[in-house]
């Protein structure tokens, strides 16, 4: 089985879909000739031409607005927003148009647009290159929200997103593009070739949208998380010698409540972890849902570990980032409650 990092896996997904479906187009800033600032679209324009892999002006609202029109006219656009921090100018087109077009036109018009965007911190990106705004998008009716945590899922989920007839906002945790990251910035980087999920088939396959995955089975506590935090949580649980069951949410909308709650009912304890700010973050929805579904099985209050409710500070990256220490503290609180 070939080894791929997340960048190669995502590239392979678009390559395959451009080849399989003549209606797939890819568009975004710097994505064509140059191949993208993170190289995710490298080589695609050379292979498929300027009419299918389009460089665009720096106008995220226009990229999404045009992608909607293309989708209405039978294309299947994959739009890149260079950083999730830059997605806000496109939000009216995403929230008011893309998300609701099928609904408001009673199913007559719809646009199968996938919006890819790198998110998250840990790369010394400061407050404009580190945000995790996924929760904002989960609050909008009519869009699916996906975030893979490894190369295998990244490829399979991106293919599934492109093929999906509903709009998908696809978040790529850029800190783990090249390898899993356990939250310790001073340790040597680990490549994906050392990880089983770095084995990625060359050809077509999908990972279904709407399915969470139990990435580590365990008995003592359930950790519900996604993206980069999967690896931070694994390290934190390991450091405490806890037999944790770790669930990769993978799709925030629609949410796989069954997988999550089956686990919590089994372990009786739950910690939720994400990089995004805590207040009104997606963890709040997870916590409320788990409480409603699993209250009588819970042996302790559900814990939440998140980014602080401040903008992402450049000089205090590792004070800000919810690293293994903060997760371990969260786990201890969840475990120590009688």
């Amino acid at each position: 089985m070939p080894q791929m990092n997340m960048i190669q896996a995502l590239n392979s997904a678009m390559d395959i879909m451009l080849a399989r479906d003549p209606n797939v187009v890819v568009l975004g800033e710097d994505i064509g000739y140059f191949g993208g600032v993170f190289r995710v679209t490298d080589g695609l324009q050379r292979k498929y031409g300027e009419h299918r892999v389009l460089d665009t002006p720096i106008a995220e609202g226009a990229i999404v607005g045009a992608a909607i029109g293309m989708g209405v006219n039978g294309l299947r656009p994959v739009a890149e927003v260079q950083f999730a921090d830059y997605i806000y100018p496109a939000c009216d087109q995403i929230f008011s148009e893309l998300a609701r077009l099928r609904y408001r036109s009673a199913g007559e018009f719809w646009a199968p647009v996938t919006i890819r965007t790198p998110c998250g911190g840990g790369i010394r990106g400061g407050q404009t290159h580190s945000q995790s705004p996924e929760g904002i998008f989960t609050h909008v009716c009519g869009i699916k929200v996906v975030m893979p945590s490894n190369p295998y899922d990244a490829k399979g989920l991106l293919i599934a997103s492109i093929e999906d007839d509903d709009p998908v906002v696809f978040f790529e945790p850029k800190r783990i593009y090249n390898g899993p990251f356990d939250g310790e910035p001073n340790k040597p980087a680990v490549p994906w070739s050392t990880h089983p999920k770095g084995e990625v088939p060359e050809g077509y396959y999908t990972v279904p949208i709407g399915k969470a995955e139990v990435v580590r089975a365990g008995q003592q506590v359930t950790i519900v998380t996604y993206g980069t935090m999967i690896y931070v949580c694994e390290a934190a649980a390991r450091s405490l010698g806890l037999d944790a069951e770790i669930i990769d949410v993978r799709t925030m909308v629609p949410l796989d409540v069954d997988t999550i709650c089956t686990s919590v009912k089994k372990t009786g304890r739950c910690l939720i972890a994400h990089e995004a700010t805590r207040f009104s973050g997606f963890g709040a929805e997870l916590s409320a849902t788990i409480q409603e579904e699993c209250f009588w099985d819970l042996e302790a209050p559900i814990g939440r570990v998140a980014g602080w409710d401040t903008p992402y500070p450049h000089a205090f990256e590792w004070e800000y980032f919810p690293g293994p220490r903060r997760v371990a503290d969260g786990l201890k609180a969840v475990m120590e409650t009688p």
Partner: protein, 412 residues
């Protein structure tokens, strides 16, 4: 005295109680503006964005190089479409006043924009309208009953009860869903047109916004993408002078025409008398040929006047003179085409009165049928279960649960 900077606040030229003042309006005599080749370079035709293309003169004759030479039967059809739009609007306004529908927006005074443009386009061209383009539906032949059912949110509402009145859509007729958020359709139309070019099809995209809405970022997004990719699209700014209470100077029309933004972005800009059916037709035909033959997009500014209130929730007597529209220098589009046909010997006051009567009867009959399918307050209602559909293509579990919850809440 040292010179100081100065904050300029645009002011409407006349307000309630004052004499209407249209001295700000720059016009050109009918027939005076040259008609360049459809493939002309943008830099060579910038006059089109400053002058005013007009065909009908004060004696009701069609003159000059933009005269589209339509046959009288076509002109009569155009008149009929404009009149039907007007009669429909008047009747639906009254329906709102009697509480049968919640909201309405008339296109009174602007009928030529939708009707002449739609007649100059091909049936496969894709239209991305604003909320004041009902003439498009009339020209493309959607039965009025269908439009009325949408207004009523009744059992035959094309929107299944999800949209405010007038936010129609019609996939088969190639008319895009109206949003209600301003200008969002502009970049979408450009994207649609880009896709047509990518696929090698010669259909074009056409979109409309008001001059007030041109202040939105989406206007600039659309102009930029249309120009950069030379998309086969016509972008229309319907300058009806008023955005609710805000006159066109506040959208930037005071210093330079809206059409002039076309050349600013490197695309053709044409300023046309929007109440001159023949001029609107000719300009649209020119822009459509230009788009279809790969010569690029066009921004058309239609200089017209919003003769009615913004909507049934608006009272224009609070911000503009009552007789403003009567004094509008470019007249009324229906009257002007009617007088032109009469001057050709192809129409008469008697035929006109008979046509109005026929259309009124048609609208009344359509209304009688539409209300049989229910109104917002009486008669059969749509199934409440419809509110859960089309959020996604397949209904996810959390919506199924909420649907069950509502069923239980309402007793099965």
């Amino acid at each position: 005295m040292p010179r100081r900077s100065r904050l300029h606040i645009p002011h409407a030229h006349s307000r309630p109680g004052e004499e209407p003042d249209f001295s700000y309006l720059e016009t050109s005599p009918a027939g005076a503006v040259a008609r360049p080749d459809v493939n002309a370079r943008v830099r060579d035709i910038s006059h089109l964005s400053v002058d005013l293309v007009r065909v009908l003169d004060d004696e009701h004759r069609a003159v000059g190089p933009w005269h589209p030479h339509l046959d009288p039967p076509e002109l009569q059809i155009g008149l009929r479409h404009m009149l039907l739009t007007r009669v429909y609007d008047e009747r639906m306004q009254r329906a709102q006043r009697t509480g049968k529908i919640s909201f309405y927006m008339r296109s009174f005074g602007e009928e030529a924009v939708s009707v002449a443009q739609c007649m100059a386009l091909r049936p496969r061209d894709m239209l991305f309208p604003s909320y004041r383009n009902q003439g498009l539906y009339v020209v493309r032949g959607r039965p009025l009953v269908d439009l009325m059912c949408q207004l009523l949110s009744n059992t035959r509402d094309m929107c299944k009860g999800r949209q405010l009145p007038v936010m129609y859509h019609w996939k088969e007729g190639r008319i895009f869903s109206i949003s209600g958020n301003l200008t969002t359709q502009f970049p979408q139309a450009v994207g649609w047109a880009m896709a047509a070019a990518i696929k090698g099809e010669d259909d074009i995209g056409v979109s409309w916004i008001g001059e007030g809405s041109s202040a939105e970022a989406d206007f600039h997004h659309a102009m930029l993408f249309a120009s950069v990719y030379q998309a086969p699209v016509i972008l229309n700014v319907v300058n009806n002078q008023w955005a609710i209470s805000t006159f066109q100077g506040f959208a930037g029309g005071e210093q330079r025409s809206f059409a002039a933004r076309g050349p600013g972005y490197g695309m053709a800009g044409v300023r046309v008398d929007g109440n001159d059916f023949l001029a609107v037709y000719a300009v649209t035909q020119w822009a459509a040929d230009r788009a279809r033959t790969g010569a690029g997009p066009t921004l058309i500014e239609h200089v017209t006047y919003r003769g009615a209130a913004h909507s049934t929730s608006d009272d224009p007597s609070r911000y503009r003179p009552k007789d403003d529209y009567e004094k509008w220098p470019l007249g009324d589009p229906v009257e002007r085409l009617k007088n032109h046909l009469i001057s050709l010997g192809e129409w008469s006051e008697e035929r006109h009165a008979a046509l109005v009567k026929e259309l009124e009867e048609h609208v009344v009959e359509s209304w009688k049928e539409a209300v049989q399918y229910g109104t917002l307050t009486d008669g059969p209602r749509l199934s409440r279960d419809l509110m859960w559909e089309d959020v996604f293509k397949e209904m996810p579990e959390h919506l199924r649960k909420q649907r069950e919850q509502l069923r239980a809440e309402q007793g099965g």
